[in-house]
Structure formats: C-alpha cells, structure tokens
C-alpha cells in the first residue's frame, strides 16, 4: 500500500466540525434538564437485569434479561424461517413460469406495501389465532416429558409462553421473508446471462443450472445484504410488542409502568439493542472478510 504524502490536509476543518458536533451534543443534553423536570435515578435497573434468588441462592435473570433472551430467540428463529421462505420465493420470482412468478410477486408486494403494524395486527388476530391451536402448542407444555421441556425451554423459552413466542416468530418471518425474497431475486439475477446460456448449451436442466451454476455464486453475493437484513430484524422484532409478545420491548413497558421511571429504562434498553445489533454487525463483517479471502 502506498501512503498518501499529505493525508491530513483538511485536518483543521475536521477538528472544527468535530468540536461543533460535540458542542451540539453536550448542549442538547444540557438543555434536556431545562425542558424536562425529572429526577434521574438509574439505581433500579441492575435489579431488573438480574435478581438474587433466595431459593436457589444464586443470581437469576429478571425481566429485562428474560426479554432479551426472547428477543434473541425471536430473531434467530424468524431469520431461519425467513431465509427458507425467502429462498423459495426468490427462486419462484425468477421462474420462467407465470404462476410461481405471480404468486411470489403477490406475496412481496402485499407485505412491502402495507405498514408493518397493520400486517402484524391482521396476522395475529385473524390468522395466528387459527394456526396456533392447530399446532397443539398448549398441550405440549402439559404433556411433554421433562427433557423435551428443557430442550424446548432452551430453544423457544418458557413452555407456557410457547404459543405466544411461536406466533411472534411466524409473524416476523412472514414479514421479513418478503425482503429476503427481493435480496435473493437480486442475487440470482446478478449472475450474468452468458453463464446460464452456457450451462443450457451443455445440456444442464433448470435444476442443475440453479444448483451448480447460479446458486453457489448468488448465495455468496446475498450474504452481506442478508446480514444487514438480520440486524434490521433484531430491531424490528420490537414491533411485535404491540401484540403482547413477551420480548424486550414489551417487558420494558411493563417495568416502566411498574416503576414509573420511563426515561431511564428506555435509554438503557436502547443501549441493550445497540449492543446486540452492533455485535452482530461486527460478527458479520468478520465473516464477510473471511469469505472474501476464499474468493481471492
């Protein structure tokens, strides 16, 4: 790498801008106390992260940590489901036959063009209320063996909240699946037409073409946008609090109402979301770099 001879040409302008920004932030925070009459008190927050359990004689996660675990479970399961759905729909979207193309187009346009809140309400009250009883989730929690329950507890959280969490997962997966579909479609269509024609000329079937030519390259190309969609999903998961899924945002509302300390708890929870989202972004950027090495 050749070093630039004068890398700090505009140093003093940068410094000026930086000072101005810092000053503005400090000023805004200083002003908060003049428009907001509020006694800040952060002391109650650690107790809502972990509590001392008298029976077990150890620390146990309290509401906020429980909410965080649920949010992480929601995010992981719904991205898996959304990825499966998105890949199927994405392939249908590039199909040569009209019907699959229409079907996946309908799905994508329907979800992308209505507000998430409306989708979530409609889904939860009209559709999920019919799906969850069919899955028999309520009886799982009472009929299953202790070991199954433990596994379920790890994967999906407390059994009594199973149908609650599952409707949240399905809801998010259907919602995010539409965006994954578009990412996958773009990935498939980014493969030069010449390669497809070349494959066809040596007699590959459409499935073989997808499997050996298009998909290996497309998957590599869609990883970065998928990763960013995953991070968006972690934050989007907060909207399912509207349908009372017991995740971080919902439980935060409960703590805020119970303690009547609204601002501290929301600022703190925003920081929690930041930490998990940023950790994911960091992990994905490492992954991308490794994949780039393989390519080279």
């Amino acid at each position: 790498m050749i070093r630039n001879k004068a890398p700090y040409d505009s140093y003093w302008i940068d410094a000026l801008v930086l000072i101005a920004v810092v000053f503005l932030i400090v000023y805004v925070f200083y002003r908060v106390n003049t428009v907001l009459i509020y006694n800040w008190d952060w002391s109650f927050i650690p107790g809502y992260l972990f509590r001392w359990d008298e029976e077990l004689q150890s620390y146990a996660p309290n509401l906020l940590m429980k909410g965080l675990f649920t949010t992480i479970r929601l995010a992981i399961w719904s991205i898996i489901l959304a990825a499966i759905l998105g890949f199927i729909m994405g392939m249908m979207r590039t199909s040569r036959r009209l019907f699959p193309r229409m079907l996946s187009r309908l799905y994508v346009e329907l979800i992308r063009n209505i507000p998430p809140v409306v989708f979530i309400f409609v889904f939860y009250f009209f559709i999920s209320s019919q799906i969850t009883p069919l899955l028999g989730l309520d009886s799982i929690s009472t009929d299953s063996s202790p070991i199954t329950l433990k596994v379920l507890d790890f994967l999906l959280g407390p059994p009594e909240l199973l149908s609650n969490v599952v409707s949240g997962i399905i809801c998010l997966a259907l919602f995010e699946g539409a965006y994954v579909t578009e990412i996958v479609r773009a990935g498939i269509q980014s493969i030069p037409k010449g390669q497809v024609e070349g494959g066809m000329s040596i007699g590959l079937s459409r499935i073989q073409l997808m499997r050996y030519v298009v998909m290996p390259q497309a998957v590599q190309r869609v990883i970065p946008p998928l990763a960013s969609q995953f991070i968006i999903l972690i934050k989007d998961s907060s909207i399912v609090s509207l349908i009372s899924i017991q995740e971080l945002t919902f439980l935060t509302m409960e703590v805020a109402t119970s303690t009547q300390r609204v601002f501290e708890i929301w600022v703190f929870v925003a920081a929690m979301y930041f930490v998990i989202s940023y950790a994911c972004a960091f992990g994905f950027s490492r992954l991308e770099k490794r994949m780039a090495l393989h390519k080279a």
Binding site: I37, E160, E254, S258
Partner: protein, 279 residues
C-alpha cells in the same frame, strides 16, 4: 270421514313428533351451551388464563419480576376457588378486547370499567371494584383556573392514557379542552410536570401520589371523585354459565368483605410499596 280422521291423526302425530324433537333440541342446545362454556374449558384444562395489563396498583411487577396487585389477588383467588392453576397473560391495553375475542385468554381481569360501547363487544360481570377518577394539574399553568369551569377552554390541554375511561370522562366534563393521549400514565403525568399540558386525569390513588412526589409543580384542584367507575371481569359474548359463575363469585366475595379488604390494602395504604421499585 276417513280423510278427516286420518288428517286429525296426522296433525296430532306431527305435533307429538315436533314436541318430542323440540324437547330434544332444547336439551341439546342446553348441553351444547354448557359444554362450550369457558368454565368447562377452564376445568378441563386445569388452568384459568387471565388477560391483564400493568397498571399501578391494579397489577405491577415486583422486584422479582412477579406480578402483584389488586386484580392479581382477585384472579388468584378465583383460580383457588375453582381449584385450578392460574396463568396471567400480560397484554397491551389497547389490544386487550380483541385478544379476548380471539381467545388468547378466558377473561379480562384488568380493572376494566364497564362502558356501553365496550359492552357491545364483550360481556361484563357484576362489578368487583369501584374506582374514582382523580385529577392532578400543573401549578404554574392551571393554578389560577377556576374549578371546574375554568378548565373548559380551548387553551387548556389534558393528558390521559390511551383507551382508558379517563379520556372519555375528560371529553364529557370539559368538551372544549384539548386532549392528548399517551400509552403510559407516567408519560401523561410527565407532560403535565414539564408544563406542556395543564392537567391529567386517572384513577385514584395515582394523582395524590404524583402530587406527593412533585409538590413544587403539581396540585390537585379537587380531591373529589370526578366520576365513579364500575370495574368488572370481561368475558366473551354468548356464555351465560361464565357470566353467572363470575358474577356470583364477585357477589359472594363482596358480601363477605374479602374484596373490600383487598381493595383497601392496595388502594388506601402503601404497605406494599417496598415490594416494588416505585420511586
């Protein structure tokens, strides 16, 4: 003759058949109603599912993250009397009625006041509590306003919790005043403390407690009840058995004083304050 006789016989026969089947049908309907009642479902499941929403001191989280409060006590007692387990389904207040109708839980025990509008969508039992609405106002903004007619002006702003009966009470008592709604009571109070709204209305004992916490900004223009509410269990329509059971449960525990005793514990005193991180 023959024709007349046989037609009479036919009519009598038909009537008999009709009556018998009518009886059978009525019996069937009765059986079906009973077996479809939510009471039957609860007994079979061995668990009562109650929809509620966090609202101090009706229901709140203690330091261990468990639910405590007046209606938590009530729901636990109902379950204990039915000899079933209890499960609470914390639900966002604005979506609690649709959630009941969609069958997410068996009953709302959530300090819900009976209003004719709500009653068109769900059924209510006999009342188990009577809450009064109180008011807290900003000293600088509303200190000079004449009570209560001075508040009925376009320049006066009220706040309330979205979907609560206090919102409709404000509209009724002070129709000219502006109204801003928040999802949480604390925010409704904060807006008044910040001087962006004149007053807020919510059920007792909250106004008094906030005035106690912020004596330099807040005051109570009146300590009387603005309106009196009737809080009832909410259940799905078309279930006479459940309506009868819950209403009579409330009647029994009203006459033996249990409900009043619990109500006084949560609403009149603050003995429970150290269980919560209430600042």
């Amino acid at each position: 003759m023959g024709i007349v006789k046989s037609s009479i016989a036919l009519i009598i026969g038909a009537t008999l058949v009709f009556l018998t089947f009518g009886e059978v049908f009525a019996g069937e309907t009765q059986k079906r109603l009973t077996s479809e009642s939510v009471i039957e479902t609860i007994m079979k499941r061995g668990k009562l599912k109650v929809g509620m929403s966090t609202f101090v001191p009706w229901a709140m989280r203690n330091k261990k993250g468990e639910l405590i409060g007046f209606e938590i006590d009530v729901a636990k007692k109902v379950a204990a009397d039915m000899k079933v387990k209890i499960e609470f389904v914390p639900t966002a207040w604005s979506g609690i009625i649709p959630a009941l109708i969609a069958g997410k839980f068996d009953a709302i025990i959530g300090g819900m006041s009976v209003t004719p509008q709500r009653n068109l969508t769900i059924n209510f039992t006999a009342p188990y509590a009577h809450s009064g609405m109180g008011i807290a106002a900003n000293k600088n903004l509303a200190g000079d306003l004449k009570w209560p007619e001075g508040y009925n002006s376009r320049s006066v702003t009220f706040t309330c919790r979205r979907g609560a009966t206090s919102c409709s009470d404000i509209k009724k008592i002070w129709p000219k005043a502006r109204l801003r709604q928040f999802d949480d009571d604390s925010l409704a109070f904060q807006e008044v403390i910040n001087g962006n709204a004149h007053a807020t209305v919510t059920s007792h004992p909250k106004p008094a407690r906030w005035v106690y916490k912020h004596p330099e900004v807040l005051f109570m223009p009146s300590t009387e009840n603005l309106t009196e509410g009737n809080e009832s269990f909410g259940i799905r329509k078309g279930d006479p058995d459940a309506l009868n059971f819950f209403s009579n449960w409330i009647m029994v525990h009203t006459s033996n004083g249990w409900l009043e005793d619990r109500h006084n514990y949560w609403f009149k005193g603050m003995d429970w304050a150290d269980q919560v991180d209430l600042k």
